[in-house]
């Protein structure tokens, strides 16, 4: 056996229109802790899904060599049988089953298909000892905190005789104590001979535990850093992560500065009852007339939750704090109120909660403001066709007809429909949540141009984005969020990717 437990050679994975992985090479040494880092969309999760058999053999190009053998996984079970286990960000435990049932779910200890519960419980106890989790195996998963659930997942992996454990952002939902615990456990697993791949955005953790760090960017391997050769420092990682050149793809125009504050948020805290934690913590925020304000941060930093909290609180958080619109203290209990107060919110999740896919362009654009084209509650369909045609023209939405189902449009055109829908309510403050996610460069440019037009006409635009070049290229000011808190605010001219990443990764 060689030193390398895993070699992924020239892996290429394409999705319709996007090359998610482009000739990626990734080598992991036996017994090391290997951290995989990169910006959102760099291809980390895709690479791990290829490894885990989520994308089966034949759906990607390249070779997976595991323990010196070329692997052809047809499904997840195949990789698990080889001793590869992936623990995803969203935990895959069944809340209403007990800890021991969960640990052996899918590979039950049985005789003639009849489960031996006593043996299961005993074995589960041993696994829990290995991960140093001191809970009764009879407890239901839903009664454990996220940190402990994470440990149960690891126990489950251990119960399958794992030799390569992959953790996808394991600490993103954990508090500091739980995080530290988990990192210690990973170090100990290393002593037990388990090799570990960890995907993480938190560079402090990475530098603390990694033997090797591999950086991905835009679906390509940029480089690997080795602890044995030199000390791995955060600054280097960031440099490699964001190292792309910014050329002139951002047509930012200068709009005369105004002192008029459109929206101000003071000390806003939102408590999510389902997650039982604060998703937004003591946030202060303000935006002026004609300003584009970017909100940067990594996924799960609380940016979308912040937007939801202002925009009529549709997730029903418990909210404290004050919101001022045009210097007036307001209450915004429903999305309807938010619209009435001049707010509009273009969702990050076009297909999930942004558009009604089975309806046509016309119906989608007018749905939020039907009363403006209605007489006595009856919709004037001629008026509707007129206004929709105007939007199709002014935003250059490419479609054969305004009666086209939104489902059949490209991502970029769908996004334009979503923007048109919210411009139709004639807002004063437009929140764009990941406005260019999943759309091509040309459409991105058009969306930036639309943003320019809007601020010129006096709107204020809040742009939530995970793409740093976009945030830097289009914003007047940039707020950075991490773990529900605003960790900093920068003027566009003093902001750099490094500064933002530092604030975003704490």
């Amino acid at each position: 056996m060689t030193d390398n437990i895993l070699e992924m050679r020239n892996i290429t994975k394409e999705f319709p229109g996007v090359k998610a992985l482009d000739n990626v090479n990734f080598t992991v040494k036996r017994g090391e802790i290997h951290c995989l880092v990169g910006e959102n969309g760099a291809g980390k999760s895709t690479l791990m899904k290829v490894l885990g058999g989520v994308y089966s053999y034949g759906n990607y190009e390249g070779d997976i060599v595991f323990n010196d053998e070329v692997m052809r996984f047809a499904r997840i079970n195949d990789s698990e049988n080889q001793g590869i286990s992936i623990i995803y960000q969203e935990l895959a435990l069944i809340p209403y089953m007990s800890v021991y049932e969960n640990i052996y779910l899918g590979h039950e200890i049985h005789k003639n298909k009849i489960i031996n519960w006593n043996e299961t419980r005993n074995q589960a106890k041993k696994m829990l000892e290995k991960v140093k989790l001191d809970v009764n195996p009879d407890v239901k998963i839903k009664d454990l905190g996220v940190g402990k659930q994470q440990l149960v997942e690891i126990a489950k992996a251990l119960s399958k005789d794992v030799s390569l454990l992959i953790l996808d952002e394991p600490t993103s939902a954990l508090n500091e104590d739980d995080s530290e615990n988990l990192l210690e456990l990973i170090m100990e697993l290393k002593n037990l001979g388990v090799t570990c791949i960890m995907i993480s955005h938190k560079l402090k953790e990475v530098t603390a535990i990694a033997d090797t760090v591999t950086v991905l960017r835009d679906g390509q391997t940029i480089c690997s850093l080795y602890k044995e050769k030199e000390e791995i420092i955060e600054k280097d990682i960031i440099k490699y992560m964001v190292g792309r050149e910014i050329d002139d793809i951002f047509p930012k125009i200068e709009v005369e500065k105004s002192d008029e504050i459109k929206l101000e948020v003071k000390n806003l805290t939102s408590y999510d009852r389902k997650l039982a934690r604060n998703v937004v913590k003591n946030v202060d925020f303000k935006i002026h007339k004609g300003e584009i304000v970017g909100i940067a941060g990594i996924m799960g930093a609380g940016r979308t939750e912040f937007a939801h909290s202002i925009f009529g609180n549709y997730k029903n958080y418990d909210i404290t704090g004050e919101i001022y619109i045009n210097n007036e203290l307001v209450k915004i209990p429903t999305t309807k109120d938010a619209i009435a107060k001049g707010l509009a919110y273009v969702s990050e999740d076009r297909k999930g909660n942004g558009l009604i896919l089975i309806d046509d362009i016309k119906q989608n654009i007018t749905i939020s403001n039907l009363k403006s084209i209605a007489e006595k509650l009856v919709v004037n369909k001629n008026e509707e066709i007129k206004v929709v045609n105007e939007f199709v023209k002014s935003l250059s939405i490419k479609t054969p007809s305004i009666e086209q189902e939104v489902n059949n449009l490209s991502g970029g055109n769908q996004q334009k429909v979503a923007i048109a829908k919210w411009l139709f309510v004639e807002p004063q403050i437009l929140i764009l949540d990941e406005p260019t996610r999943g759309i091509d460069v040309g459409a991105k440019y058009e969306i930036y141009t639309i943003m320019n037009k809007l601020v010129e006409s006096g709107l204020s635009v809040i742009m939530i984005s995970s793409e740093l070049p976009e945030v830097l290229g289009m914003s007047d000011r940039i707020y950075v969020m991490a773990e529900g808190k605003m960790t900093g605010v920068l003027d566009a001219n003093e902001a750099t990717q490094e500064k933002i990443m530092k604030m975003a990764t704490l």
């Binding site: 896919l357 309806d359 749905i367 009856v378 919709v379 066709i385 045609n389």
Partner: protein, 393 residues
Amino acid sequence: MNSKLNELTTMFKSHIRDYGMYIALGGIMLIFSILSRGLFLSPRVLSDLMDMTGYIAVLAVGMTLVIVIRHIDLSVGSVAGFLGAVAAILSSKVGLPIYVIIPLVMLIGIALGMLNGYVVAKLGVPAFVVTLAGMLFFRGALINVSHSETIFTGNEVFNAIGNGFIPDIMHIEGFHVLTFLIGVVGVIGYIYTQIKNRKKKQEYGLDVPSNFVFNFGMVLVSVVVMYFVFKISVYKGLSWTMVIVGIVVAVYHFITTNTILGRHIYAVGGNPEAAELSGISVNYITFVVFGSMTMLAALSGILFTARLQSAAPTAGNLFELDAIAGAYVGGVSAGGGVGKVTGSLIGALVMASLTKGMDLMNVGVSYQYMIRGLVLVAAVVFDVRTRNMKKNN
């Protein structure tokens, strides 16, 4: 000529989902007509068919909206039975006139429906469970108020709603002039609005079918409608039930296609999260739709009671399933957001035609149930398949 035919076939193929149930209805009527040697399409049977569809049709209309917003209402059969009995009691024991009873009972229906809506929307109990409970509860309530006995309405005007016909303006033996006139006016109105809409669409540069296809469709519809109008005219004319069902369908069709409320209902069905984010209160829409459903259940109960001239403890049994079947046959999608009230009316007619036709053929009850079950599954399979076909294009 060939290109015209081609356009007709492509047009037909792309709209097969919309036309499917009309074709099914036509086919069923044709088959029964042949098998019964023309008896099925005789004026008397047709008139009776429409009357017996009435109390299911109004339920199917309400059920359409319930299914569109991704819920279900199993309580409507029992509620129809219960409120039908309440109406009979108000008529025979209290002596209220029918024009007071109808709005009063429908108001009670709205209140009961809002209660369903409250438990579904605010308390978050699945509609299936809430309305299953309602089904049991109101079956019991019906037996309770009727003391397990049949209650006669004891009122001629009341009974006329289920059995009577509209008066005529002049007397010609064997021909109902007013009915025929209403039919003619209806068809002219239909042609007028079709032409007007087409012109509007052309003005805005929207796609319209070619003249040939457009005229072909219009003539076809007009001929079919006039055929049935004539058949009914040579019998006793329009029944009060047909008038009431016509008004309900017209009102609901208008609301669903032309008003803000209608748009909001379909938006909630199409994507509840997107609707809520668009400033629409999903809870409010749920209230309204359940309220309307039970209001129509009340009307259905009145129609059924009037038809039998009495309320029985078993009244309304399994109505909910006929209504749901009618809606599904009529093209309402279980996925939500899709379905027309006119489609559900046709669906209800399909199911009633099956029953009526098989009755005429003396098919045993056991086979009737089996055949209706198979037709229901076939209709939904058709719906699912044609929907996938559309996606693949």
